[in-house]
């Protein structure tokens, strides 16, 4: 649905060149919720703005719904008619909502319809319908200044849907909201994704957002996509940084002569009581040091850090059992820093997210 190839964006800033995007290849399939995560300055914002060409990419192409948008861009800074038409079929929601304070809620939702040239009565009907969809049917005549943050974002979402887009871009839509409101907005996005078959590309710096609603995710750093794939696919990838961040586990061995193992659950094996089977089969005591499990789409996925008595050499067989069950088992060596393969610049994946 959305494909970018070799997307590059270089900014000129006081004679210096700043590369915000460095050859980003992204592929978002139709009907999925795709999350791009990264720290600020990683290039997420530039990426999402390049998708509807609010920013002109320096190089590379963007294709949305089979249409090559970069080809429509033309030379000048002004957006031509074709590009504007293409944009009207891509909804966008913003971190700071970007509602017009001088218009009522209904007026804000009618704005894209005015741009599309929809007649007055049809606009009103559509706006009220959309307000109902986002659960704000009673706020049509209110002004944005009278709404809470969550309500404003609902208006923003209703407005983004006015042109009946197939694709919704979400630019940190929940970053200005409290956790509870964040959950309700994410739930709304999820519902819209399922009910309307809407493809959602969102950028965020919150792992929770990815964990809650994303089918697929990409990790960005320094303008590049470091890792990407479906959430289950990432979990199945040994040493995946995103999987470690999405399902962080902590805890260190309670003493010497203990083996610490990180077990990753995904797919079928997650449905079976593997840990208790392990315990019974080999008659060993297992301590759970930490776990991060979630049910995504009816499947249990996540990671668990367990401790087995005895050194690694003594536990080769039980670990083999876990692997036979289709689980991934990685032995954690004595390093308290966590699994190998995580670069030092990732701030303690084990403590950051667990606290939430």
């Amino acid at each position: 649905m959305i494909t970018t190839t070799g997307l590059t964006k270089v900014y000129q800033s006081r004679g210096r060149e700043v590369t915000a995007l460095d050859g980003v290849d992204l592929h978002v399939r139709e009907g999925e919720v795709y999350g791009v995560i990264g720290q600020s300055g990683a290039g997420k914002s530039s990426l999402i703005r390049c998708v509807n060409l609010l920013e002109r990419p320096t190089a590379g192409t963007v294709t949305v719904a089979g249409q090559d948008l970069t080809a429509l861009a033309g030379r000048g800074r002004r957006a031509g008619k074709e590009l504007r038409e293409a944009r009207s079929r891509i909804g966008m929601v913003f971190q700071h909502f970007n509602l017009l304070a001088s218009r009522t809620v209904q007026g804000n939702i009618e704005l894209p319809l005015e741009i599309l040239g929809v007649s007055g009565q049809a606009r009103t009907r559509k706006a009220l319908e959309l307000l109902d969809l986002v659960g704000l049917a009673d706020k049509a005549k209110s002004y944005p200044g009278q709404l809470s943050g969550g309500q404003k974002q609902r208006v923003g979402i209703a407005r983004a849907l006015a042109g009946e887009p197939k694709v919704l871009l979400s630019d940190e839509a929940t970053s200005a909201l409290d956790p509870e409101t964040t959950r309700s907005i994410l739930q709304l996005l999820r519902d819209l994704n399922q009910e309307l078959g809407l493809t959602v590309l969102l950028i965020t710096h919150e792992m929770d957002v990815v964990k809650t609603i994303c089918d697929s995710a990409a990790l960005m750093r320094n303008g590049r996509v470091v890792e990407s794939g479906t959430v289950t696919g990432l979990l199945a990838t040994p040493g995946s940084e995103l999987a470690h961040e999405l399902f962080p586990v902590g805890g260190t061995a309670s003493g010497p002569d203990r083996t610490v193992v990180d077990v990753t659950f995904h797919g079928e094996a997650a449905a079976r009581p593997v840990i208790s089977q392990l315990s019974r089969t080999y008659n060993i005591d297992i301590s759970i040091l930490g776990a991060a499990m979630d049910t995504v789409g009816g499947n249990q996925i996540g990671r668990m850090r367990i401790e087995l008595p005895g050194r690694f050499e003594e536990n080769v067989v039980p670990i083999g059992f876990l692997r036979e069950q289709g689980l991934q088992a990685e032995v954690v060596d004595g390093e308290p820093a966590g699994p190998a393969g995580i670069p030092a610049q990732t701030p303690a994946p084990h403590s950051k997210e667990v606290a939430k």
């Binding site: 609010l54 909804g91 970007n98 304070a101 741009i115 944005p144």
Partner: protein, 223 residues
């Protein structure tokens, strides 16, 4: 002078002043509003970025603003005569008054429009809005309270200018004050014209403030 002698002079003076000020204000808004918007749009990073146009408008506006009005008034006499046919009288004064106030108002509009949150522009762009749409539906409505407040300030500046215009062939309270109050040493008359001007300025300021309040009541929080 007795009151019955003063009264027709004051009435005519007030009418002439209001006539000059209001018409020149209309011309000023018609000329200054597009200039102010153009200054923002053509600026670096603007939607219609055009360094040359921006610089040219900027220089013209700055020249217009740095000339003392009384000089501009005299310098424009040929131009005024060409446009109106004469350079004397209230109608002729509308030309230099408007030309003097347009750069001032254009800068006020520029400041007001520049303060509009760029996120709103981006939102309308993402809906497929064209630049005229952005100006009409975002920049102008969002900047309206500031622009109205700028109109108030401009009208009051125009009242000051119109009094000066009175000294160079114009009509209005300024001219009456010069002729009767200053040249005939009639302090009482002078005092009354001053009070009248203060009343006019105050009423205009009150109307302007009221209009801004009315516009701002629509829940003008930045979001």
């Amino acid at each position: 002078m007795t009151w019955s002698e003063m009264q027709p002079l004051l009435t005519q003076g007030t009418i002439d002043t209001l006539y000059m000020v209001l018409w020149s204000a209309v011309v000023t808004v018609a000329g200054g509003l597009p200039l102010g918007i153009l200054l923002v749009l053509t600026d670096k990073g603007g939607l219609l970025q055009n360094v040359l146009v921006n610089k040219v408008i900027g220089v013209i506006v700055n020249i217009g603003r740095s000339l003392p009005f009384i000089i501009l008034l005299i310098a424009l006499i040929p131009f005024t005569t060409w446009v109106v046919g004469t350079f004397i009288g209230p109608s002729a004064m509308i030309v230099p008054l408007a030309i003097g106030a347009i750069p001032f108002f254009a800068r006020l509009v520029e400041t007001a429009v520049r303060e509009v949150d760029h996120g709103l522009v981006e939102a309308v762009q993402s809906m497929g809005g064209s630049i005229p749409t952005i100006v009409r539906k975002v920049l102008l409505p969002q900047a309206l309270p500031s622009i109205v407040s700028g109109v108030t300030t401009t009208v009051i500046v125009l009242i000051g200018y119109s009094a000066m215009a009175g000294a160079v062939g114009g009509e209005g309270l300024g001219s009456k004050a010069v002729t009767y109050g200053f040249q005939r040493f009639d302090n009482q008359f002078m005092l009354i014209t001053v009070v009248l001007l203060i009343v006019i300025v105050t009423v205009i300021q009150l109307i302007g403030d009221g209009a801004v309040r009315l516009l701002a009541r629509r829940g003008r929080t930045t979001s």
